[in-house]
Structure formats: C-alpha cells, structure tokens
Assembly symmetry: C2
Homo-oligomer: 337 residues x 2
C-alpha cells in the first residue's frame, strides 16, 4: 500500500475539512485526530473511516458547526448536549473539560448526550494521560451484539477506554465489548484466516472461528461470554442515565445513520499520591515484561504496540490506499490549489 508522510496526510485532511466548511481551528483538530489514529495503526477508525464521516456530514447527520453546550452542572459532574456535532471534536472537548474539572476538584465527569461516533476512543485516553490524568471514557453504539443467551443484537459493543499515565509510555486500554469488531472479522475473512479464538456463532448456533459465518449470522460474541454482555449493558445504561441521552435501543441500526450517541468522560488527577505511586506503575510494567521475556513469552501492555507503530509511521510514512487518498483529496469538490 502506498505510504504518505504524517504531514502530508494531516495537510490533506485539514484542507478537506476546510472545503467542507469547518472553522480553521476545528479543521486542524479534526484532521489531527484522524491522522493520529492512522499514524497509530488503528486504520479502521482513522482515514479509512473518513469517507463515511464525510457522507454523514453530507446527509446532515453530523452538523459540522455544532459545538457541545452545557445543560447542567453539579460540582465535579456536568452533563452536556453534543447537538450532533462531529463526534471526535465533541469527545475531545468533553475530555478536555473533564481534565479541567479534575485539575480543580481531583476528578471530573462529563456526560455527553446527542453526539456522534467518536472514531478511535483511545484518542481521549491518550489525551487524558498526556495531561497527567487517569482517563476513563465509554460510548454506547447502535445495537450490534447479542446479549449472552440471545440470538439478536440488542446491545451495543460499547467501547470502554481506561488510560493510566506513565513516564515510560502511557497505558491506554481501548476495548469494545465484542471479542472482534466487524472490521476485524472482515480482515480475517479477506485473508482467509481463522480467528485466533472463537468470535461468534454460526448458523447452527455453534461457537466458531470462521469470520464469514459470523458475519452471516451477525451473532458476535461478547468478551467473556456473560461477563462482557453484562458490562456492555451497564455501560449503555450508565451513558444514557448520566447524560440524559439515548440508549442503544433508541439508536438507528444503520451505520450510516448512527447518531445521537451517549458518552461519559472521566478524568482523575493521578499526581495526588506522589512520585512513589508513579514509580510503582513503572515497576508493574517492567516486572511483567522482564518475567515473561525471561521465559520467551510475548506479553504486551495496552498502548505498547501503539507507540511502536507510531514511531514506524513517523519514520516510514502511513499506509493509505490510493482510493482513500483520492477520496480525501476529492472531498468538497477537490483541492483548492
């Protein structure tokens, strides 16, 4: 696949967003969030997702001019209306606000209703960790996951992000409640590879490692079976309850029409307990690395691979298909220059 430099990609995205009518500062931030995601190797939610983002702007489901407004506040808890603005800008603003609240009050929580897909959830975990905060955030989604014991998707896969700041590389977990995303299933099918572990059910209702069979039944598997099913449910309940927004059951099931999501952003000041505690975090990571490496085992902490991929992308460029590159450059009638 052809590679473009980070700067080229960022520039092309800024230009595309400007042509769509974004204000300059919002174009810069939105472009950076997309470019950083591809740079970090999360292609499904980086520029590969950009064409759908554009289509949803063109169909009116994303309002590029809308910024979140605070609906209510109570101490360290606030609830906001995202007004169906761009999901990544709304999410970034919400975590930024949670961080500011945590600087004041130790912890800050922003519940955001009426927003759009946040693209890569991990972005807001990195954002918190880079501000020296522990970050926790989650979103609900359209229904795409059958509860354990059911055959019909009635839950979202409701990604959860937990970030812990660390001098030697932040620990950022970004996980959906399904064992594999539809994007991952597609990739295994196209490579003709079986899934490494069962990822859902086939037409006979048996657990299977055949990605195509799962795509057919739409019966993806929650992580930990009944456990991930329960966690997906409570994340949706909490997001809707705290934000006053929609629950998964109220969200349109067509990915091109998926809007009005509910999200929660929490930042916690991680510096309160001092440097010994921060050193303790390092020691946990280092000990696991050392003890498993000594046995020839490969264990990665969440976020570790991201840093490697990031470095490679900055050195060698970011893989972007010709089709995607043309789409970005053609947005809004094509380049101005």
């Amino acid at each position: 696949m052809p590679r473009v430099t980070y700067t080229e990609l960022l520039h092309a995205l800024v230009e595309a967003l400007l042509r769509l009518g974004f204000e300059p500062a919002r174009a810069e931030l939105g472009a950076r969030l997309f470019a950083d995601t591809s740079r970090d190797g999360v292609h499904s939610h980086g520029v590969n997702r950009f064409p759908r983002f554009v289509r949803m702007i063109q169909s009116g489901r994303i309002d590029i001019a809308a910024t979140p407004v605070r609906v209510g506040a109570r101490g360290c808890l606030e609830w906001w209306d995202g007004r169906r603005g761009p999901g990544n800008l709304n999410a970034h603003a919400s975590m930024e606000r949670a961080i500011a609240m945590a600087r004041e009050g130790g912890i800050g929580c922003v519940a955001l209703a009426n927003t759009n897909h946040w693209m890569r959830g991990g972005s807001y975990g990195w954002q918190a960790a880079e501000a020296g905060m522990m970050g926790v955030c989650w979103t609900n989604t359209l229904a795409n996951l059958p509860p354990w014991g059911a055959s019909e998707p009635l839950l979202g896969n409701n990604p959860l992000v937990v970030a812990v700041p660390r001098a030697g590389g932040h620990v950022v977990l970004d996980m959906a409640m399904s064992q594999f995303s539809y994007g991952a299933l597609q990739a295994y099918r196209e490579r003709g590879e079986p899934l490494p572990v069962p990822g859902g059910f086939d037409e006979q209702g048996r657990l299977t490692r055949d990605a195509a069979a799962i795509e057919k039944t739409q019966r993806t598997l929650p992580i930990g079976y009944w456990k991930g099913s329960g966690l997906a449910l409570v994340l949706d309940l909490a997001a809707g309850l705290l934000s006053g927004g929609q629950f998964t059951r109220m969200i349109e099931r067509d990915p091109e029409k998926e809007t009005g999501l509910s999200q929660v952003f929490v930042a916690i000041d991680a510096s309160s307990t001092g440097t010994a505690a921060a050193t303790g975090v390092d020691q946990v990571i280092e000990e696991i690395a050392a003890r498993t490496a000594a046995k020839g085992e490969h264990v990665r902490y969440p976020g570790q691979q991201v840093l490697k991929t990031r470095e490679q992308s900055m050195r060698n460029g970011i893989p972007v298909s010709d089709a995607t590159w043309e789409q970005i450059r053609g947005v809004g009638g094509g380049e101005r220059q």
Copy 2:
C-alpha cells in the same frame, strides 16, 4: 444442606464478631454484610468465607479495631488508609464516603490503600444503588491470573463492580477478570462437570474445559483473552496509583496472608438528568426481556438472579453446612448464652 433463617444467621454472626472483640455497631454491620452475601446466593464470599476471615484476624493480618483514616483530599477525590482493618467494613465506609461526596459534588471518588479482601464486591454496588447512585468500584488482589501470552500468574483477577440504580431492581454487575474463579473451578470439578466454556490451559498449553486441569496449571483464562488481561492490568495500576497503596506484585500470594490491597470507590449522582432518564433504564431492561422471551431465550441482567435468590432465602432459609454453622458458633470460645 441444612437451612437457617436470615435472622438466626445474622444473630449468630453478630455474636461471633462480638466474641472476637468487634465493637457492637461494627459487629452488626460486618455480620449483615456476610449474611446478606449468603442470602443473595454468593456463598463463596458469604459465611463460607467467614472461617478464613476469623483465621486472618487471629493471625493478626486483619486488625478489627482499625478504621480507615483520610490521608488526603482534593475536591471530589480523597485517598484513605485502610490500616488493614476488616475489608468489608473498610469498603462499606469508603463507598459511604463516596456517596456523601456525590451528594455534594455530583461525583465522589475514594481511593483506599492498605485494606483487606472486601468479600463480595457487589455489596458496595448494591449500597450505591440503594442510595440512588451509580456505583463503580474495583479492587486489586494477589496474583492469580496469567497475562495473555504468559504462563505465570502475574495479574490479579481484580473484580470490577458497576451498579446502576433502577426502581424495578438495581442492575449490579460484579465480575472478576478471570473467566472462572478458583471457587467455581472447584465446584465444577466436584460435580464432575466440564466448564460451559474454556476456562484456562492444561499442561500441554491447550485451552480446556477441564476444571481440574486448570487447577493443576493455575493458568486461568482472562475474560476475552487479551482484553480482560489488559483490563485487569489497568485496574491494578489505577488502584495502586490513585490510593498510593500496593500493586498486585507487592501482595503476598498466599490467600491466608493476602493483605494490603488497594481499592477505588466511585459514586455518581444518577438523579441529575431526571425521571425520563430513569424510565429509559427501565425500558432497556424491559425490552431485552420481552424480545428474548418472545424467542424462548433466557437472558438475565446482572443482579436479576440475586433478587430471586434473596427472596427464596428469606422464604426458605439460607443453606449453611453443619461444619460452617459449628465454626460460626464456636468462634472465640463459643456462644455466650
């Protein structure tokens, strides 16, 4: 198994704790937490766990007189020292404090260092929900779970509790990061039943449903493989970092000596967004129940079975083995009457 009434059990536990030297109010609360857990059907962490609790008092690892003290505070975030007091009393006090903070500031977070096993984590989720709060809490534990890709237990199974209040029955998720607890593995082995899904690795390093084989290797499986492994890690990092206390790697691996745990308790006022949001929570639960029942499928929300078991226990009594009953009545030299 013989059954005792809830009142008989509570009385016997209060008397036992008084004989051990607990102050009356602390004996009442401690007894209630144990009795409620057995009443709710979580036998592994109810009275079946009481004998070990007593042994750890007698060995000096639990200090029955110690109450948590606040070490620092910053707005809606506080960190406390549990001083190795009884884990259930410390946890209850911490969630109570988080609830009080949430009443003032919308959200409250208490990070607790230097505490003991909290017994049933769900207790503190129910506590928050009964106060009209969303509750989130987690604990680290001794190392009992190999990270994904490793053969040695270097992570705790670090139970996570998420509770959402609901008029028709609170939704309370209480889940460890291992697919099955050692208590569950033992129960399957004793019944001679295979696990319903793979729960760990056998001596050949293959995933297995044979409980005995997993008990032998101690290679239990994290929920969702790499995902639960990552979540267990970040929960430990967060608990140690926010509380300033121990991480899993610093905790003695013998369950009879497991002390100095770190825990986090968060309460969030769930009433801010009003009755429509609360009704929305009901509708999610009701819709999933209705749509799956219509297909003859059995889906339970987290906490649903607890309420059924609770009702049965109050009607028919709580199963307590003769041996456990004798141990409770024999604590501290036997009954006073």
